[in-house]
C-alpha cells in the first residue's frame, strides 16, 4: 500500500505534463467554420483523448484517495488558515461508515478503470508510431512493449524519487527494504520483457526479408547511432539483470544508481526509436545526423524542472504516504503486528509469519 501511495505520488506530476500542448481545437468542439471536425482517423487525436482522460481520471483517483488524509491533517493542524485550507481540500471529510463504504467502492472501480487506462495510454502513444509506414516504427509488438517499458521506467523513476524522499523524510519504517526488493523484482521482470521485445523486433526485421525493415534495423544497431543503441541496451536490458542477485536487490545504493541507469536507458529508447528511424528514411537526400539545438535542450531541461518542481510541492504540502491505507493494514501487516501474532501462535510455520516474506534469508 505504501508503495502504491508513493507510486501515485511520484507519478502525479507526470500527469500534469500531458497537457502542456493543450489547445482547445484539438477537441471536437462545435465551431463556426461550417462542419469542420477533427479527424477521428488520426492517432494523434486518439492521443489527445487518451492523455486528457488519463490525466483527469488519475486526478480523480489520486484526489479521492487524498480526501480522508486531508481530513486527518485538518484535525491535527493548529492555525486557523491551515485548518480552513485543509478542510477545503478534504471536502469536509468525516469518515462515517457510509462514506467509507462508498469510498471503498469508488476506489475499487477507479483502480479497475485506471489499470486498462494506463495500458491504453501507452498503447495509443505507441499507435502514434506504429500506424505509420516508417520502418522501425510500424511493428505490431509496439503496444504491449510500450506498456512494459512504461511500467519499467515508471518503477525506476519512482525508485529514484522514493529513495530520496525516504531518506529526507525518514520514512524507513514505512518504505522498507522489502518494498524496494519487490520493486526491483518488477524491474528485472519488465526489463527482461522489454529486452525480449527488442530482440523480437530485431529477429522479425531480419526474418521478414523486407528490405526497408532490414535496413532500418541494421542502421539502428550498427549505424551512426550505434552508441545510442548500445547505451539503451546496456541500461535497459543488461543492467537490471544484476537484480537476479539478492545482494543487489536489497542494496539501496545499487538500487539508486540502477534506477538512474534505467531512466537514462528508457530515455534513449525513445531517442533510438524516433531518431534512428527518421535519420535515414526512404528519401536518401534527407538522410542526416540529428544534433540537438538550444531549443531542444531547453525543452528537455524545462520539462524535468517542471516535473521536479511539482513533485517537491506535493511532498511539501501533501501526505506522501496514504495515511488511511497504511492504518488499515497496520494491524495485519506491520512488523510489530506480525511479531505479536507469531508469538501468539507459538511461532508455527517455522517462523515464516514473523519474517513476513518467506525467502527473506
Amino acid at each position: 500500500m505504501t508503495i502504491f501511495a508513493v507510486i501515485c505520488a511520484g507519478m502525479f506530476p507526470i500527469f500534469h505534463m500531458g497537457r502542456v500542448w493543450d489547445a482547445p481545437f484539438i477537441f471536437p468542439i462545435p465551431n463556426t467554420r461550417g462542419p469542420l471536425w477533427v479527424n477521428f482517423n488520426s492517432p494523434l487525436l486518439w492521443d489527445v483523448f487518451a492523455i486528457s482522460t488519463y490525466f483527469s481520471v488519475s486526478l480523480l483517483f489520486w484526489y479521492s484517495g487524498l480526501m480522508p488524509d486531508f481530513g486527518t491533517i485538518r484535525d491535527r493542524s493548529k492555525g486557523k488558515i491551515r485548518k480552513y485550507l485543509y478542510n477545503l481540500a478534504s471536502f469536509g471529510w468525516q469518515g462515517s461508515a457510509k462514506q467509507w463504504q462508498r469510498f471503498e467502492a469508488l476506489s475499487l472501480v477507479l483502480a479497475g478503470l485506471s489499470t486498462p487506462l494506463v495500458l491504453s495510454v501507452h498503447t495509443i502513444v505507441s499507435f502514434d508510431f506504429a500506424t505509420s509506414v516508417i520502418p522501425g516504427w510500424h511493428t505490431t509488438i509496439f503496444p504491449p512493449y510500450f506498456v512494459a517499458g512504461a511500467i519499467f521506467s515508471g518503477f525506476a523513476m519512482v525508485e529514484t524519487l522514493m529513495i530520496i524522499t525516504r531518506k529526507l523524510f525518514k520514512l524507513e519504517d514505512y518504505i522498507t527494504i522489502n518494498h524496494i526488493e519487490s520493486m526491483n523484482k518488477i524491474i528485472v521482470l519488465t526489463g527482461s520483457i522489454v529486452g525480449i521485445a527488442y530482440l523480437t523486433e530485431l529477429f522479425i526485421a531480419w526474418y521478414s526479408g523486407a528490405l526497408y525493415e532490414q535496413f532500418a534495423f541494421y542502421n539502428r544497431i550498427l549505424g551512426k547511432y550505434l552508441w545510442a543503441y548500445a547505451l539503451m541496451m546496456s541500461c535497459n536490458v543488461l543492467s537490471p539483470q544484476l537484480y537476479w542477485f539478492k545482494r543487489f536487490r536489497r542494496s539501496i545504493p545499487v538500487t539508486f544508481v540502477l534506477s538512474i541507469f534505467v531512466n537514462i536507458g528508457m530515455w534513449f529508447e525513445r531517442f533510438v526509436i524516433i531518431v534512428t528511424s527518421l535519420a535515414d528514411d526512404y528519401l536518401v537526400s534527407s538522410w542526416a545526423y540529428f544534433s540537438p539545438t538550444w531549443v531542444d535542450w531547453g525543452i528537455y531541461l524545462g520539462s524535468i524542472s517542471v516535473f521536479l518542481f511539482l513533485f517537491l510541492l506535493f511532498a511539501r504540502f501533501f501526505p506522501t504516504i496514504a495515511i488511511a491505507e497504511v492504518k488499515a493494514i497496520f494491524r495485519t501487516s506491520s512488523e510489530v503486528a506480525k511479531a505479536e501474532r507469531a508469538k501468539a501462535e507459538g511461532a508455527t510455520h517455522g517462523g515464516f509469519v514473523l519474517k513476513g516474506a518467506l525467502d527473506k534469508e
Binding site: 492517432p43 475499487l108 479497475g112 486498462p116 495500458l119 498503447t123 499507435f127 506504429a130 500506424t131 505509420s132 509506414v133 510500424h138 511493428t139 505490431t140 509488438i141 509496439f142 503496444p143 504491449p144 523484482k185 527482461s192 520483457i193 525480449i196 521485445a197 523480437t200 523486433e201 522479425i204 531480419w206 526474418y207 521478414s208 526479408g209 523486407a210 528490405l211 532490414q214 537476479w244 510455520h349 517455522g350 515464516f352 516474506a357 518467506l358 525467502d359
Partner: protein
C-alpha cells in the same frame, strides 16, 4: 481432508479411451473427406492446430505455477497440483509438433509448402536470403526439437519437484523460486519462437512481432478455462473439498483478465496492419477476409472471446456459480480453438499456385483490392460510408468481385480460380478435438492420481484455504 488421492477409475479411463477413439475416427474422417488437391492438408491442419493448442495449455499450467510461486501467491495453492498435472501433456506435445514439422519437410503434407518453395527457388533473391538460413531443414527441426526437449524436461522436473512431500522446507522453497524463474525465462523465449516456427511459418511472407505474445494470451485463456472445468469436475466427484466458489471466482477473474488481454493484443495486431495497409501485412488478413467462411469464424471468435466474457464474466454472480462459470469456460475453450483454427486452417487451403507465382504481385493486387473495395463502396453509396473490412453489402461485393477478377488474372498467370476446398469446422474437426482432449485428460488424470491432489505441507496452504474474495 488434505491427503486424498485421485482415483483414476476404470469407467473414467473407458470414457477417455472412447474420446481418443473418436479422435482417431475423426482423423480418418478428415483424411477421407479431403479433396485430392489438398494433399491431406486438412488432416495435418487438424493435427497441428490441436497439438499446438493443447501444448500451449499444458505449458501455461507450468507458467501459472511459476508465476504464482515467484509472486508469493497463496490463493492457488490448493489447486497447484492441478496446474502441474495439466502440464503432463507438454511431455509429448512438443514431439507431436516435431513430427508434424518433420512430415512437412519430408513432403508428406503441404502445410509448409511456401517455405519449401522458397527453399527451392529463393536462392539469389535478397528478399529470401535470411529465410534460407532460418528455415534450413536441420536448423528448423533442431529448434523445435530443443523446445520439445526443454518442455518435456521441465514438465518432469516440475512434477517431481512439486509432487514431493516436504514442500515447506526452506531449502526446497528457495529452490522452487529458482526453478520457477528458470522456467519463465525458457518459456518466454520458446513460446514466441515456437509460434514463429510452427504457425507463422505457414505463411512465410507474413510477419508480425506481436504474434508470439498473442498466441500466449490465446492459450492462456484456454488454460484458465480448462482448469476451471477440471476443478468443477473433480468437485463433482467429491474431491477438493476445500476448494470453493472463492477459488473458482479467482480463476474466473484470471479468465476474464486474459480474455481482455487477448482482445487487446488481437486489436493491436489487426488495427496496426489494417491502418498502415502495406502489402507485407495485409496479405494475411485479405486471405482470411476473402473467404466468407473465415470471415465468420474470425469475427465469431472475436465475439465469443471478447464480448461474451465482457458482459458475462464481469458479474460476480457468474464467476461464483459453478454452472455458469463452467458454461463460460467451455465456450471460451471452443472460442480459442476457433482462434487457432483461423491461423492454421487458412493456409493449406489457400491457392498455393497463386502465392507461388510472383508473390509480390499477388499480394500487391490483394492490397489494391482492399483499397479498391473501400473506394468502390464509397462510390456506390455516396456519402454513406462503409467499412472496407466489415461491409458485406451486395453492391460492394459485386464491385470487389470485378476488381478481384481483374487482378486475379494478372497475378495468377492464367491459373484456375482457387480451389474452394477449405476445411470448415465439421464433424471431423470436432472429433479430432475431442480425441486430443481425451489424450490431454488421460495424461492429466494419470499424473494426478500419482499423489495427493493437495500439497498438504505447502507453506501457503493455509492462506489458500482461508481465501475469501469479497470484491468484484
Amino acid at each position: 481432508m488434505t491427503n486424498e488421492k485421485f482415483e483414476f477409475t476404470d469407467s473414467l479411463k473407458k470414457n477417455l479411451y472412447i474420446m481418443m477413439g473418436l479422435g482417431l475416427l475423426g482423423l480418418v474422417w478428415v483424411f477421407l473427406g479431403d479433396h485430392e488437391s489438398n494433399h491431406h492438408g486438412r488432416l495435418w491442419s487438424n493435427l497441428l492446430a490441436n497439438s499446438y493448442y493443447f501444448t500451449g495449455i499444458a505449458l501455461f499450467g507450468m507458467f501459472v505455477v511459476s508465476a504464482t510461486q515467484l509472486a508469493y501467491g497463496g490463493w492457488q495453492t490448493l489447486m497447484k497440483r492441478i496446474f502441474i498435472s495439466m502440464s503432463a501433456f507438454a511431455r509429448i506435445g512438443g514431439f507431436l509438433l516435431l513430427l508434424i514439422l518433420a512430415a512437412g519437410i519430408a513432403d508428406v503434407h503441404k502445410l509448409y509448402e511456401h517455405v519449401s518453395h522458397i527453399m527451392h527457388t529463393g536462392h539469389g533473391d535478397p528478399k529470401y536470403s535470411t529465410k534460407l538460413v532460418y528455415f534450413a531443414s536441420w536448423f528448423w527441426i533442431g529448434r523445435v526439437f530443443v523446445y520439445a526437449l526443454l518442455w518435456a524436461t521441465f514438465s518432469i522436473v516440475f512434477d517431481r519437484f512439486f509432487g514431493e512431500a516436504d514442500q515447506s522446507s526452506q531449502a526446497k522453497y528457495k529452490k522452487s523460486k529458482l526453478l520457477a524463474a528458470a522456467f519463465i525465462v525458457v518459456f518466454a523465449v520458446s513460446e514466441s519462437a515456437v509460434s514463429w516456427d510452427m504457425i507463422m511459418s505457414l505463411d512465410p511472407h507474413w510477419f508480425s512481432t506481436l504474434f508470439g505474445w498473442y498466441n500466449f494470451a490465446s492459450y492462456g485463456c484456454a488454460a484458465w478455462a480448462t482448469s476451471i472445468l477440471i476443478i468443477i469436475y473433480l468437485k463433482s466427484k467429491g474431491y477438493l473439498n476445500q476448494v470453493n466458489e472463492n477459488h473458482v471466482h479467482d480463476l474466473g477473474k484470471m479468465l476474464f483478465g486474459f480474455s481482455i488481454f487477448w482482445t487487446y493484443l488481437w486489436f493491436s495486431q489487426f488495427m496496426l496492419q489494417w491502418y498502415a495497409n502495406i502489402p507485407e501485412d495485409t496479405n494475411f488478413w485479405v486471405k482470411r477476409f476473402d473467404e466468407p467462411y473465415f470471415k465468420v469464424t474470425i469475427f465469431g471468435a472475436l465475439i465469443v472471446n471478447f464480448l461474451f466474457p465482457l458482459f458475462f464474466l464481469i458479474k460476480r454472480s457468474a464467476k461464483r456459480n459453478f454452472k455458469m462459470i463452467g458454461f463460460g469456460a467451455a465456450l471460451l475453450i471452443f472460442g480459442h480453438y476457433v482462434d487457432f483454427f483461423n491461423y492454421t486452417f487458412v493456409e493449406p487451403n489457400w491457392n498455393h499456385e497463386a502465392m507461388e507465382h510472383g508473390h509480390g504481385a499477388a499480394v500487391k493486387s490483394e492490397n489494391v483490392v482492399m483499397l479498391a473495395e473501400a473506394h468502390a463502396t464509397e462510390a456506390a453509396h455516396g456519402a454513406a460510408a462503409t467499412d472496407a473490412v466489415k461491409h458485406e453489402g451486395h453492391e460492394a461485393s459485386a464491385a470487389v468481385e470485378v476488381k478481384h477478377g481483374e487482378h486475379g488474372v494478372e497475378s495468377k498467370h492464367g491459373h484456375e480460380a482457387p480451389v474452394k476446398n477449405f476445411a470448415s469446422i465439421g464433424i471431423g474437426e470436432i472429433l479430432v478435438f475431442i480425441g486430443f482432449a481425451g489424450l490431454f485428460l488421460f495424461m492429466f488424470f494419470s499424473n494426478l492420481s500419482k499423489r495427493n491432489i493437495v500439497p498438504e505441507d505447502d507453506p501457503y496452504l493455509k492462506e489458500s484455504e482461508k481465501l475469501n474474495v469479497t470484491w468484484a
